[in-house]
Symmetry: C2
Subunit: 200 residues, 2 copies
């Protein structure tokens, strides 16, 4: 005997979510079975609402719940500086720093030939179109500091530099609060390479 | 900036599920945002279906999707042997062994005075009623081999024995495929205490 068809269907659907194994799926299904109906239905309705109303911003491809995303709608943002990220979640990470007042452009991925992601699968054409349209003077390449992200940044830098726009990349180095002893050699190497004059 | 209201609501609801932290909730929300609408809606509908149609079997308190649960509906099950478990998930575990052909009774918990679970919070009154109604001759106490489960089994054994029914308990001992070296002393003690004659 397994569970009944309906409960098993819920366990199967939960098990398809990333990071949810069969045991977790079972545990969550029984949790949903046990909670007040309104609590479970709030989750169900939140899924429907997100699928119906959340779209990608047609300008920067961030998530949006109307026409443009919150950043593009904000008139105080500086249109001349563009931060290029791989994923909308990266925007939240950058926003949390409160160090950036420009706009974003979400590539929706990074170059990854093995998985069939080439320049045409990313929002690169749209990025180029924005340079002129919005009078962009600086592009900050905020792709992830891994193989795919670095390759994507390199590709974009080669494409953007001849267009006369300033192209910058996030600094690599030791994380704040980190420990020199546990830093990997690549990070430590980058930190040495990017060393800065001490103001004293 | 955080996410938009709808996406944040979904992340919040996912974060309320057991074993899902804020990062996992975010990851799952973005996964749901990315998949085909029908895939996300299948999950949403599975939640609604389970909340609307899955109930507890009025006889044994297993999960049921109609009147009685699948086990109670099966005429081939032996009504004279009753396996008492804490949770419907335990039934699936016992069923997988294919060693038990009787019926179940789900207590819906175990005695836990600290959390306010006393005998009245468990389905003990209903268990006693079934003994006569169904002509039960043996009750197998399949509560968990932990403090609460053992206390519950002890409580039930003392209550059931005077009623002239055979009361048994799952054997404690080393798990099959386990390693003597890594067994805790309680388990190894129980295994010694419950040692059996070797048939040779």
């Amino acid at each position: 005997m397994a569970y009944g068809a309906l409960l098993q269907a819920l366990i199967d659907e939960l098990g398809r979510l990333p990071g949810i194994g069969p045991k977790s799926a079972q545990r969550i299904a029984f949790h949903l079975l046990k909670v007040a109906p309104e609590d479970a239905l709030r989750l169900s309705e939140a899924i429907v609402a997100v699928k119906e109303k959340v779209t990608l911003c047609p300008r920067c491809f961030n998530v949006a719940e109307g026409t443009l995303c919150d950043v593009c709608l904000d008139p105080r943002r500086d249109a001349t500086v563009l931060c290029v990220v791989e994923d909308p979640r990266d925007i939240v990470a950058v926003e949390k720093t409160q160090e950036f007042r420009g706009r974003y452009h979400v590539l929706q991925g990074a170059l990854n030939p093995i998985e069939g992601v080439g320049p045409d699968q990313l929002r690169i054409r749209e990025l180029l179109a924005r340079l002129d349209d919005e009078g962009v003077t600086e592009v900050i390449l905020c792709t992830n500091p891994n193989l795919e992200g670095e390759a994507t940044a390199m590709y974009l830098a080669r494409m953007l530099k001849p267009l006369g726009v300033r192209v910058t990349r996030l600094a690599s180095g030791l994380p704040v609060g980190g420990d020199l002893e546990y830093a990997d050699e690549l990070t430590l190497g980058r930190a040495l390479e990017g060393r800065r004059e001490v103001d004293a």
